[in-house]
């Protein structure tokens, strides 16, 4: 963390940007610590093998869908259904990808593959802010990479700790550390709440998420997100003056 102070990186050098990305992701990494640990403990108590638990964090790298998968494994669900549910739960990431298209346009296929793999809620939120700042800095992909590498390392480390702890203390999954996810996400939503259309969008998404909670396979999440986006766009039209739009 403090490396960019101990070494004198040229400002905006690639290494400097890498550590800037990691630094700006730090609060989200802190939020992901209990989340990752609880995932490891839940997986251990749900009967998932250590191999499959670590494999999920290493190759899937998508927190909420990993939680859903563990609960489905516990309920004895067949693997094709778990994969399908993962698809639905993670469908929102397609919209993250769409948002990144203009920023990744000039990158090599290798960079696109690496950065797309790490497009989690957290890294997306942090990186999109950096890309959107029009300060003429080049090589923002290193900022994105720094955020992603920090999240990835932490997520796998915490999964491993949780897995070990879950085997040692089987009761740990009932401590309620699962509040870490909503706490982190609330902190991430608040900075967005500066315009009326954004407020309307968020209130709508929250309301629909409750009304549609009974829908199977987490489809309520998609319904709520789509409703939120539509209401946001409609409100943009209604409050159509410049200061309402950012």
């Amino acid at each position: 963390m403090s490396m960019n102070y101990t070494f004198s990186f040229k400002n905006n050098s690639f290494l400097y940007q890498f550590f800037e990305g990691a630094k700006d992701t730090f609060p989200l990494v802190v939020g992901a610590v209990p989340f990752g640990i609880i995932f490891g403990t839940l997986a251990a108590t749900a009967g998932l093998s250590s191999w499959a638990t670590m494999g999920m964090s290493m190759f899937v790298f998508a927190g909420s869908s990993q939680f859903v998968a563990v609960s489905l494994v516990f309920a004895g669900t067949a693997w094709p259904m778990i994969v399908l549910t993962t698809f639905v739960v993670n469908l929102r990431h397609m919209l993250y990808g769409a948002t990144m298209v203009p920023f990744y346009k000039h990158l090599s296929p290798f960079w696109k593959i690496v950065l797309a793999f790490g497009l989690t809620d957290e890294t997306f939120a942090v990186s999109v802010n950096r890309y959107s700042r029009k300060d003429g800095v080049t090589g923002k992909r290193y900022y994105n990479l720094g955020s992603m590498v920090f999240m990835y390392t932490n997520w796998n480390l915490c999964t491993f700790i949780g897995l070990t702890a879950g085997k040692a203390f089987p009761g740990i999954s009932r401590w309620g550390l699962d509040f870490a996810m909503p706490a982190t996400f609330i902190g991430m939503v608040i900075p967005y709440l500066v315009t009326k259309p954004m407020w309307a969008s968020v209130v709508t998404a929250g309301t629909v998420s409750i009304l549609a909670a009974g829908l199977p396979h987490k489809l309520g999440l998609m319904a709520a997100a789509i409703a939120g986006v539509i209401v946001g766009l409609v409100c943009e039209k209604i409050f159509c003056n410049k200061e309402e739009l950012i």
Partner: protein
């Protein structure tokens, strides 16, 4: 079904989840050059992160144990979430919001569970 150390079903599950998740995150890059997104779609994108995150937050806070609403102030998830909103709104500091609301949540959960309040 998942009782073996490394079962074939687990392998299929993890592989399937990995392929599907990467596919979702990547698909927009190869196809984006082939057509242009309508202007409305692009404007709608900025509502995606807050709307999706809120749709994850609200049920996990108001329905912490399945499909029943718990709007009582003895719901530690609700108290913690209110604390997170207040702290986040006042100080605009992510780390402070997460740490303090986690502490409040854990204290409430402990207090409510043992009937101290």
């Amino acid at each position: 079904m998942f009782d073996m150390g490394i079962s074939l079903n687990e392998f299929y599950m993890v592989t399937g989840m990995a392929v599907v998740t990467f596919g979702i995150r990547y698909i927009m890059f190869p196809i984006s050059g082939r057509f242009k997104f309508p202007e409305l779609f692009n404007r709608g994108l900025k509502y995606v992160p807050p709307a999706v995150l809120t749709a994850i937050i609200v049920p996990s806070v108001l329905m912490p144990h399945g499909n029943t609403l718990n709007l009582k102030l003895t719901n530690p998830y609700l108290v913690g979430a209110i604390a997170a909103c207040v702290i986040g709104g006042l100080f605009k500091n992510l780390l402070l919001t997460i740490v303090v609301s986690m502490i409040i949540f854990l204290v409430c959960q402990w207090a409510f569970a043992f009937g101290a309040v």
